[in-house]
Amino acid sequence: MLKTIRNISIILLLVSCNHDDSEIISYNNPELELHLPEGFPELNNSFFDNKPTKYGVELGEKLFFEKKLSADNSISCASCHIKAHAFADTHAQAIGIKGRIGFRNTPPIQNLAFVKFYNWDGNKRRLEEQPLVPIITHEEMDSSILEVIGKLKTEKEYLDLFHQAFGDEEITGNRIYNSIAQYEYTLISSNSKYDQVKRNEGTSFTESETEGYQVFQEKCITCHSTELFTDQSFRNIGFPVNPNTDEAGRARVTGNLEDVMKFRVPTLRNIEVTAPYGSFGQFVTLKELLDYLDNGVVVADNLDPILKNNENKIPLSEDEKLNLISFLKTLTDAKFLEISN
């Protein structure tokens, strides 16, 4: 109780000194200056309640790679969220402890500060509410937050980091969630060839990429709009349906039948390295995916009008597909992925 009162007074102190940097400096934990790329969507509101700080991010990164988050200390967030794959992985469906196979394809973690909905069905709107899910899910880490806290508090390094990040050594679930989210907010990908061309940094598209960009603007951009290459809407575009009866797409959140098998339009950034594709990894390659759209998709009452009004397909010639793929590869950000071109 005393602790709570003290924490509240610290918060009050912070709030009242919002415009007075000296108070924040007294923790010696400055806010990080994040470079917000031009033209990106607005920041998620939660970002402003949990702005990345020097030690918050350092702690979050350490936790992101911490295998003690899992029941048997065998996997960390980074086991499925691999940097070189835009923090996705190469499996059709995520793999948890003891080889347990998860429900859906591991989503990439990039540019999440600018995203309004998280996960394939958008069930979370605050990034801070997400880390608990893999920690407790049977097919993922199968642990509990008290179990995690119990492990972390035996390590001086963590006690010090929590102190530096939050003002005292107390390890709480919220501090764990907030610091992981802070780290994730810093994962911004905006240095692809596409970005460099847009910013006139001395590179230009090849002929094939230029033609691919043309096809993209004609046939893809309605859904994959904005500089994140997603309009963040939920759509059923008739991909093969997950045979798992647990799957309902967006409808498991909203309870609306019209949302059945709708999924969040995914970003196309770094798509070259996030195969396989689809909510449960239906497509091994981009070519397969484009062939599928070209051949015709699964029909449904709520199939997206763009497909429905077009004989349930997005017609693409072989050349168009190859050019489109060339263009999509310009969205690969080698610097972000820390891979060589």
Binding site: F103, G122, N123, K124, R125, R126, E129, L132, V133, I136, T137, H138, S144, I145, L146, I149, T172, G173, T245, D246, E247, A248, A251, R252, V253, T254, G255, N256, L257, D259, V260
Partner: protein
């Protein structure tokens, strides 16, 4: 034991007789404690028949027939009760640890007899006319917060309970497993909230039950016998036919889930009892 009970009964009768004869002898009235316990007893039924659980081919399981003529029986039956309130003669509400899941919420599990009785401790002595409680957990407490409520978190999450809805970071409010139709097709009906203040559904239902006779808390620790009639699952406000393309079996989706929620817990508007009723009050 029987003799002992009989003995107790005689003593009780004597006390009652004494009580009724002491109106003008105030000093002889036994002291009424300021509080006493109240037991809630949950009887899960199909209509008038107590539910017996059983696997697909069980001969013992209670089989129910829906309005649409679908036979069904359950192998598993659990639900969460929280936010318990008693309303006294003066219309004053007594809140029973309504914001403390560790001390004010319980998982009723048909397979575990001890969970069919839930004891409310230290209820102020008074005469009560109504009981209110929630089927499920209010959204503000429905966050799987193990740090705040470790006891309820553990009770709900045990392997044989599985009332954590991990992906939604909330509790399952009802968990029904069983079989329907002549072929004993699996049914799996789980409810829970997905709302976060801006999207999703609220599957919590507030139940209000008038007591058929007043509940007198004082010298005695009385009991309220509550019937939960699971016939309403398929044959409630909405008549539901189970089939491949609706709600079964699915442990994740909230498509059609709200029909089950309203059938079991009412719609919170013109139906505030759902499947529940008070059979008796044992003072």
């Amino acid at each position: 034991m029987k003799n002992f009970n009989k003995g107790l009964a005689i003593i009780f009768a004597a006390v009652l007789t004494l009580t009724s004869c002491t109106e003008d002898e105030a000093e002889a009235i036994p002291t009424v404690p300021t509080t006493n316990n109240v037991t809630l007893e949950f009887n899960n039924t199909f209509g008038e028949d107590a539910i017996v659980l059983g696997d697909a081919t069980s001969a013992e399981a209670t089989v129910n027939t829906s309005t649409e003529g679908q036979i069904h029986h359950f192998s598993e039956l659990k639900y969460v009760i929280s936010n318990i309130r008693l309303i006294n003669e003066e219309d004053i509400e007594i809140h029973y640890n309504i914001n403390d899941l560790d001390n004010g919420a319980t998982v009723v599990n048909q397979a575990k007899e001890e969970t069919l009785q839930y004891v409310l401790n230290n209820i102020p002595s008074a005469t009560y006319t109504k009981i209110q409680f929630g089927l499920g957990v209010k959204s503000n407490l429905n966050t799987l917060d193990q740090e705040a409520f470790p006891i309820f978190y553990a009770a709900a999450g045990k392997n044989d309970t599985e009332m954590h809805w991990e992906w939604g970071t909330g509790y399952r409010f009802t968990k029904i497993e069983g079989f329907y139709g002549e072929d004993n097709t699996e049914l799996s009906i789980h409810t829970g909230s997905t709302d976060d203040g801006g999207q999703g559904v609220d599957a919590y239902r507030d139940i209000t039950l008038e007591l058929p006779t007043n509940l007198v808390v004082g010298i005695n620790a009385p009991k309220i016998v509550i019937k939960a009639d699971f016939n309403t699952l398929l044959s409630g406000a909405t008549t539901i036919t189970l089939g491949e393309d609706n709600a079964t079996p699915s442990i994740h989706t909230s498509v059609n889930m709200m029909q089950f929620v309203d059938n079991l817990g009412g719609n919170g508007d013109d139906n505030i009892t759902g499947m529940f009723s008070v059979t008796s009050v044992e003072n």
